[in-house]
Subunit: 324 residues, 2 copies
């Protein structure tokens, strides 16, 4: 189980290798939302998403022998790039198993960052099975995207930064909106804030039709999505919360927030216009929740973790043309 | 004359009000440029450009009586927004004289930030004359966009941050590429670096056809552009370097770098793709110089000041569709 001590240890290993992303603000967004909005732009993290933190944490926690043999990961794209880049920087080989319908940009980047990419069909094949088979054949260490203590610890460093940076704004409480797939980032942040900013409450954010975490938190047991493709929010489509992450989410998080694809696109357009950052749809869900679901929030301040920016230009343009 | 002491004093007044923008990197950009590229994304500054620094510096340096009467500025858009926002936050009224062909987004934002906007025709009217007349009529303090010591001091804080942040990367030398209109930012950075990182050399960057600073540095006297409109790099179109700024540029800067509009658009596309930031054409000229004019540089490291991101979505989309 990931603990605060593990997150703090990860923060030490990440220091100087990951980027401390700032907290951004805009009076236009505050007006729009009717409350103070602080945005943590993890799109500015290396490889364009927070996933590099978990990748670096996992790679740096391996013993040298395992690292030299290499690692394997399965991912829709952001975990792929995070692990590939972290592995290459550690001098370790990496194999990444990616769905064949992942954005071309993410597939290309993963290769360019030094990984061997293996594609699979999201509808008919089981990525876990493929990952485990390849890992066994080549003696690679499998780095799971979220249900992995050292990955959760790495993502949790976002929470440590939020606590320290919000305090500089005089903010000690408020709701922290986090895009949630399997819950690695969300649970890591929740653990960090439990210790460092206990007056903050984490709210998982999901796209409509893929709200497994929101439903799981309501029912008290792990619920599943009927599908894991078919949304533009590809970065956060997972079948269900993890076995490790769900108990943490259940213990520490408030209710989930669910937004439409159009709300995510609109949030991307406003992030372009008001913050000058590039978000992908799955990275803008939390901002969409803050902007369009304010009635479901109860705090003066919403801290929005904008998780990634690896978006194809056509999709980005669609957001701008429809919503600026 | 602006001095290091004035820049340091401005930094104290700016502390907690302006954003300390990070230094961004990308292995893809390093590969493309053939050298290390560190990007200072001032598009992430409040109001979307570095101009808020100079605006805040000037407003905070005024005595209370003058501030209560209000300020006036003339600007193609970024200085306008910077002064308007800084004035409103200081509780001071502001009048902004803007060219009627400025991007609509900049005009709208300036109004929304609390300013009274007065439009003029760039081809037939003299903005300085208009500004001075209005200032006289209403007893407003004129805040010039660059030839103003406290504005230069505010922009110079970018240089203080570069010296400190580059040192964290182990970088003490290198060329610092700065988009240059009238030279307020460029001269401020040069003054700061003269003291804090004397092994760095500032290189002014301009769009083709508007290379007054480059030509002035070559000839040793102030040269003028034949026009001040007709480029997509609207943010940095000025007739000539300033009377205050030019001697500083002449004493401290290396030769100018001149890029085409297409190179600026290409740099915007690569900033979208690799850094996840939004740049306007005039804000991307320095990055274009680093990426496409490497043969004119002589250092292992290029530090690029990406000065602003206030771009209309149509222009941004043009960059993506042509160059991603």
């Amino acid at each position: 189980m990931t603990s605060l001590a593990m997150i703090e240890a990860a923060a030490k290993r990440l220091h100087g290798h990951t980027r401390v992303t700032p907290l951004l603000t805009s009076p236009f967004l505050d007006d729009f939302a009717g409350r103070r909005i602080l945005v943590k732009p993890e799109c500015l993290q290396h490889t364009g998403s927070f996933k590099f933190r978990g990748g670096w944490s996992a790679l740096s926690a391996l013993d040298e022998t395992a690292r030299a043999k290499g690692v394997i990961a399965y991912s829709s794209g952001n975990h792929a790039q995070g692990v590939a880049h972290a592995a290459t920087l550690h001098g370790a080989p990496s194999v990444i198993v990616m769905p064949s319908d992942a954005p071309q940009l993410k597939i290309d980047n993963t290769r360019a960052l030094g990984a061997e990419v293996v594609l699979y069909d999201r509808a008919t094949e089981d990525r876990d099975a493929i990952g485990q088979r390849l890992a066994g054949e080549r003696d690679l260490t499998l780095i799971k995207p979220f249900d992995e203590p050292q990955v959760i610890a790495g993502q949790g460093t976002v929470g440590l930064e939020i606590a320290a940076q919000a305090a500089e704004f005089g903010v000690k409480g408020g709701e922290v909106l986090v895009n949630c797939g399997g819950g690695g980032l969300t649970s890591g942040i929740a653990l960090a804030l439990e210790a460092r900013a206990p007056q903050m409450q984490v709210r998982p954010c999901e796209p409509k039709g893929f709200d497994d975490v929101t439903r799981s938190l309501k029912s008290g047991q792990i619920e599943r999505n009927s599908q894991t493709s078919g949304s533009i929010c590809d970065a956060i489509l997972t079948e269900s919360p993890g076995k490790i992450t769900f108990p943490i989410l259940q213990r520490l998080c408030g209710a989930g927030l669910v937004v439409t694809e159009d709300e995510a696109l609109h949030a991307m357009a406003l992030a372009f216009l008001r913050l000058k950052i590039v978000l992908e749809p799955g990275g803008a869900v939390s901002l969409a929740a803050a902007l369009f679901h304010g009635s479901e929030l109860h705090s003066e301040t919403a801290i929005v973790v904008a998780t990634g920016g690896n978006v194809d230009p056509e999709m980005f343009n669609q957001a701008l043309m429809r919503f600026v």
